[in-house]
Every structure is written in structure tokens, then in C-alpha cells.
Point group: C2
Chain length 343, copies 2
DNA sequence: TTGTAGGCGTTATCAG
DNA sequence: CTGATAACGCCTACAA
């Protein structure tokens, strides 16, 4: 107790706590306290203060794959960049629950309960156990999921606005003169995928181009499905641009590029390619036209939402805009701009 | 208060605290407690349990540059991989203290103090404020620094064995027949650098090759310093191999490679190059002969040491071996193996 | 084997 | 503006 040391008592709390609230403290006492603290090397015990304040300024981060997988590629690193920054600026430290997935000792069904030791928690990854999350939320524990959710479970989330982003890409293609556009997506009906598809159709509709399910090529095995033959088929039927969904593995994008190369096609000239997301890091081709997912900003937004929840408020806008990325894989269609467009 | 919930009270502490000590608890009550805790999602408050002079199974991680810098290149990610795994297997969760460096709001002198919330803490980065660390250590708070330290401040650390690793590389060169070997290092006398230099000399001495400071080329500005002209100078004076220190930026290694290319030299044939560390990720040349820093293992070792400290024990061996990396940038010297070696 | 009491170092609430 | 006093939630004797 620095109180014993110097001359004051609870005042120490006010002085060191930096509470400029209602009360004002004489410069004199303030100095006395500060001096004593300095002399005795006194520092408030965070455990005690957090206990008393009933808040520990900790935000939990729950990822349902190792937070730091050996391969950076598969990590949430980009999100964490934003999470860390925003958490810092909001005065929170982060608790990483280890072994959330690694099947560690405490990886039982109730691993999520550990989250309660923080003021709130962020959940990353698709495989979050909905049941457990529900319990947390029902108990009034602040939780924010990083990634859009369809379930009407009241779970707060923050996600990228794939609908608008995809629409923007399509709008761009149409503006260049493309009319016959195909969407390739992997067969996994998660929001990230369905949102892109919706944006794709919306972009066409908004541009007055008829569309329908026949424009969507859903493939389970891109490697085998996207062959040079299929490409030529599309070209023959008038297709001038292909839009590809981005996924974890970028399977479709890779396969498509390989097929284009194998077919000896000249990418922007004979066929335009757009990628609804970022290219894989090892991609050495030209910058694909498409959009970037603002992962750091998503992380930051998630923390902001969580902080709001923790503070008793309501999070605001859950959607974060993606930035359109003009690339080098899209150009006007080969035949020039169709007459229909010019009229 | 799971106590109100179930039927017991303080027993909860015993059960959840996993204290198999003197007392034995009826399987029955144990189940009751565990059941209730589970049902209610009860988790002991870390602040409270720590305040009560116990432990909360939290390990703090303090990095003195942003833990997640925007550029993955500069991050502690590889260490964190090991830290997370080992922490998980030792039953600890991790607390990342944010804004350690970002100059955030709480970046004041007492930022480190937050560490006391955890059972112990890991410190990464060279710029750790020694003064503050001292206080923690003096107070008996378990701290482990990731990276070797010279200061005799009693601060526990875990680091890579650069001395042996560098020696091994040199030994390898000598075995191939090299005698005139030059070491290039940047001008920054941190342990990571001086250790490599020591290993370099030791390797030569052990092989019976005379050495001295004149073999070391210390350069502040590799770009300007490592010119094709200088290379030719070295070659003319009989140098057949160059050993380069690895640094954050890999400045020397890049500059050297550029100079070699510019001078039109054939790398392993006319001149052998070894790198005391890992090449930068964007390096597209042949795999450099040298050694890899076992970052994940270092992270794990640091956690192990910290866990030992927290448990009241003493950490063991602080040095972690680096793995020799046979590469494609070293070969026998051009003149063949000198007669002196063959005799 | 289980319940009771005291205290860890702060903050918060209220009187002085 | 400052000094008491009561929580905060948990752990550790100690008593029942």
C-alpha cells in the first residue's frame, strides 16, 4: 500500500487511476502521491484492480483452428492485425484460448466456456459450435463472430460485404461491354459464397442483362471440371468473361488459370477473368481484377463491435466494404463493344 | 458463484482447482460440482484467483513491436506457432498485451505492469525496457525473454545457439577446402550478431585456420559497400567463400547477391556463399547453404522455461540448436582442394 | 469430507 | 477535496 508510504489513502486510487471525474485533486496531494509511488516503486496490482472494477479489459479470441497454424497461409493473421490494433486503441488486451481446436487438454465440448474469463469474445472460423455460442449469448455474454452469419440466432457478427463487392465487379465487366458472363463457384453454400453469387446476379440485373442459374457453374472438383475443352465450349457459346469465387484454397482460380494457359488463350484479350477475392500469395500471374477483402479492417470492426457490446451499447453496421481492385485480367470483350450497347 | 448453484461452496475451489492435495473429495460431490459448473458455464475469475495468491493459467506475451505488424515478414508469427502449441500442451492460455510498442494509450512506463495479471510473461523483441523488466523480476514475477541476453540481470532467456550454428557452417566450408573466408555482418553489436561472429572464428580456429578481425567485414550500408569491385578485390586476394550474417532486412545478403550477379560470377563455382540464417521469403535464388533458426521450437522452449518458472522450478538449457541447411550456394573452391589439405 | 472466516489490493460509495 | 468502509471472487487455513 502506497497509502501507508506517502500520506494519503484512497486518493492514491484517484491520482493513479487518472480519474479526472467529478473530483479535482490538489496539485499538491497529487505530487505527494506520485512522489511516494515513485520512491517506493509502487504499482497498482492489475489483478486487484480488475477484480474490484469487475472488468478485466480482456477480449477473448476463439479460433476454431489453431490460431497460429504452422503455415501462415491458413492463419487468421490478417484479421489479427486489425484486431490487435483496435483492441490496443480501445484499451483491451487479448486472450488467446489455446488448443481451441488442437484437441488440447481442455478442448472439450465446453472449451468455449473459458471465454467467460474475458469481458467478451471474438469468434473466428466457420466451425464454431453454434450450440455453445448460443449459451454464451443467452447468458448475456458479449460475443461477436467474425464472418457473416445466416442463422437468426441473434449472434452479433461482422463481415465483408461480398454482395456489393461482387456486384461492383460485374458492373465493371458489363460497362466494358461484356454480356455473356459465367460465374464459377465451389460447391459450398456458406454465406461467403452465396453472397458473392447474389451480388453477381444483382450486378447483371442492375445492368439490364438477363441472368439465371444457368450462368452459374458450380463445381466440386475444379481441377477436373475446368478443362480447356470446357473453356472453348464457353467461348463458342459467346462467353467473354468468367468470374471466379475465391475460396481458402483458390482451387477454382488456379484450375481456371491452368486451363486458360493450356488452351493457349490470351487472358485479357480473348477472355476476361475476374476473381471475387484476393489471389493466393503464391500467384505469380498478373494482378487479377476483382476485389480485396479488408481483413485487417474486418478485425478492427469486430473488435469495435465487441467493445460496444461490452460497454453495454449496440454494435453498428456489421458490413465492411471490400475495395475494388482494378487488375490486368479484364479488358473489353474481343468483338469490341457490341452494337447493342452502343445504340 | 457456482456454490449457490450446485450444493457445495468452497469445495468448488478444491474441485476446480484440481488440488489432489491432502484432502480427498467424494466422487459424488466432485461430480455435482463439475456438473453444476458445466451447466452454468462457470469459470473462475482469473483476476480474483490470481489476487488470492493463486494462479490463473494465463501466460502473458509482451512484444515490443506490434505482435501482428501489417507485414507478416516482420512478425513474431513463427515463434508464436511454437508458443501457442506448447502453451496449449502445458495447459496455459495466452494473454497478448497489446500496444506494447504502438505507443498506444497505455504505452507508458508501466505498460509492462499489466503482465502481473498473468502467471508469468514472455517478452519478445530487443527493445524491452530493461528497467521495467528488472522490477518485475525483482518482485519474483516469472519472466522469460525470447532471445539471448548479455546483461547479467538475471533475466531468464531462451535463444538460438548461433555460435555453434555458425561454427558448423564454417567447419563445413573448411572441410570442402576453403581457407580464405570472409564474414560480412551488419554493424549492430547485438548478441545475435556477435554470437555468429564468435562461431565464425571458432570454426576457423577449430579447423586450424588462422583468423582475426581482418576477416570480418562490418558494413553499415551493405548496398553501397558490397560492390562488384569489392568482390573482385576479395577474389584476387584469394578469398573463396563469403559468409553472411542474416538480419531482419537481409540487407547484406541481398546486396551481396546483387553484386555477385552484377560481377557475372558463378555462385557456387567461382565463389561460395553461406548465409547464417534463413533467406528472406522473397528470395528466389537457389537455397543458400547455412542454417535455419528453429523459431517455433524457440517459442516452445520459451514457454517451457516460463512454465518451469511459474511452477517454482528452474528452466533448463536456454540454448536451442539451429539446423544446418545444406544448400546450393557452396561448393569446393575453384582451384580444387589445395595441396596443403590433401597431404 | 465439508463448511466458516479472513484476507489479497483495488475501486466505489458515502460521509466528513 | 479526503478519509472510512464495503464489496469484488477466490483461495487457504482451520474448525466442524
Amino acid at each position: 500500500m502506497a497509502r501507508l508510504a506517502g500520506v494519503s489513502q484512497t486518493t492514491v486510487s484517484l491520482v493513479l487511476g487518472g480519474k479526472a471525474d467529478g473530483v479535482a485533486i490538489s496539485v499538491e496531494t497529487r505530487q505527494k502521491v506520485l512522489g511516494a509511488a515513485e520512491r517506493l516503486g509502487y504499482v497498482p496490482d492489475p489483478a486487484a484492480s480488475r477484480l474490484a472494477a469487475a472488468r478485466n479489459n480482456l477480449l477473448g479470441v476463439f479460433s476454431f483452428t489453431s490460431t497460429f497454424p504452422t503455415d501462415v497461409q491458413h492463419s487468421y493473421y490478417p484479421f489479427l492485425v486489425g484486431v490487435e490494433q483496435e483492441a490496443a486503441s480501445q484499451g483491451f488486451d487479448l486472450v488467446l484460448f489455446t488448443g481451441s481446436s488442437t484437441g488440447g487438454a481442455r478442448a472439450g465440448a465446453h472449451a468455449l466456456n473459458r471465454a467467460r474469463l474475458a469481458d467478451g469474445c471474438l469468434v473466428l472460423g466457420r466451425h464454431a459450435p453454434t450450440e455453445e455460442l448460443r449459451r454464451l449469448v443467452d447468458d448475456g455474454f458479449p460475443v461477436v463472430h467474425l464472418g457473416r452469419r445466416d442463422d437468426p440466432d441473434g449472434l452479433a457478427w461482422v463481415g465483408a460485404d461480398y454482395v456489393n463487392a461482387a456486384r461492383e465487379v460485374v458492373t465493371n465487366l458489363v460497362a466494358l461491354g461484356h454480356r455473356e458472363i459465367v460465374l464459377i463457384c465451389e460447391d459450398d453454400p456458406v454465406p461467403a459464397s452465396t453472397d458473392r453469387e447474389r451480388g453477381f446476379h444483382e450486378g447483371l440485373v442492375a445492368a439490364g442483362v438477363p441472368t439465371g442459374p444457368e450462368r452459374v457453374h458450380r463445381c466440386a472438383d475444379p481441377e477436373r471440371d475446368l478443362t480447356p475443352a470446357r473453356l472453348r465450349e464457353w467461348l463458342a457459346s459467346g462467353v467473354t468473361a468468367i468470374v471466379v469465387e475465391e475460396t481458402d484454397t483458390s482451387g477454382a482460380w488456379r484450375a481456371l488459370n491452368a486451363a486458360v494457359a493450356e488452351a493457349g488463350l490470351d487472358c485479357p484479350r480473348e477472355l476476361s477473368l475476374a476473381l471475387l477475392g484476393s489471389p493466393p500469395p503464391d500467384d505469380d500471374g498478373p494482378v487479377p481484377t476483382g476485389f480485396d477483402i479488408p481483413r485487417a479492417r474486418l478485425g478492427a470492426a469486430a473488435v469495435r463491435a465487441l467493445a460496444a457490446l461490452v460497454g453495454g451499447g449496440r454494435p453498428d453496421e456489421p458490413l465492411v466494404e471490400c475495395a475494388f481492385r482494378p487488375g490486368a485480367t479484364v479488358a473489353a470483350p474481343p468483338g469490341g463493344i457490341p452494337a447493342a450497347v452502343l445504340r
